[in-house]
Amino acid sequence: MNAKAIVVTSGKGGVGKTTTTANVGAALAQLGEKVAVIDTDVGLRNLDVVMGLEGRVVFDIIDVFERRCKLKQALIRDKRVDSLYLLAASQTKDKSSLSEGQMKAVVKALIEREGFDRVLIDSPAGIESGFQTAASAAQGALVVVNPEVSSVRDADRIIGLLEAREIDEVKLVINRIRPEMVKRGDMLEVEDVLEILGVKLIGIVPEDEKILVSTNIGNPASLDNGVKAGAGSAFRNIARRLRGDEVPYLSLDSGGGFLASLRRLFGGS
């Protein structure tokens, strides 16, 4: 993806935007990029706790907007990967405190002045002003979708709104897929979702208990390089694809159905 500023969005809440932002951001930083992750969910901030950085938030994005601190002072450096930084949302304000102009200025300053290679913007749920502000500064988008009815419908709506904003690099992350349900025919397959939504895929992330465990302790699963399967490694693969690497999609089980459908999807027999 050429875009340096990428919004992570979904329409529906609870599908994994924040988890995706934290894990892909951490993986990109581990690959050597200087990465800022921005929480724009003002009033309902969570990226800080998911990343385990909640104890270190002093200033937030609204403080930057309202000039109570410098941009640099509000950037929290992650101690595990030193090229990873968090810009937290304010917990006490509401979404009207964010304006598109200020958002664009902050993202521009991060890239042009502070030398960030990548800025991931974690959008709030919904299609209203919070989402619009988050999307305003982005040139690319990761749309996170779960293979179920309301998430797919909301993702379709969000994709329409991103197109209206002329964000041309829109990629799909299919999150929380359950191979055994896909195999039974009780969950949409990857290719069903792609056919319905008509956007390009960038990642398939299996439902994985380890995500909850890693979130409990505030340590993004993608940082654990020792684990070669599951959600953490799927998020690492998304980071590599974002950088332009050709990474084959992992087979999520050793059985016929899902693997076969992946082969069909990627040009095999």
Binding site: V152, R153, D156, G185, D186, G198
Partner: protein, 81 residues
């Protein structure tokens, strides 16, 4: 599309429902508006030739990348005089 015992898989139901609901979402058409359109079309068409009101059906369909509006209107048999 059908399982071993002819049971349609639940995901196939979902896929069909999603495709349908998304075509209306994308066209910003509500089912009520569709009914209105159907009635008006019938009135206009009925001025020119006799139509079978019962089998009349209008819907949106996806043909590849584009949405297509399809009206299916059987023409009544015209009696020869």
């Amino acid at each position: 599309m059908f399982g071993l015992f002819g049971r349609k898989k639940s995901k196939d139901h979902l896929k069909e429902r999603l495709k349908l609901v998304l075509s209306y979402d994308r066209a910003k058409l509500t089912p009520a508006k569709m009914d209105e359109l159907k009635d008006e079309l019938l009135q206009v068409i009925g001025k020119y030739f006799p139509a079978e009101e019962n089998d009349y059906d209008v819907k949106l369909e996806r043909h590849g990348d584009r949405m297509v509006f399809v009206a299916n209107l059987p023409v009544s048999r015209v009696e020869a005089h």
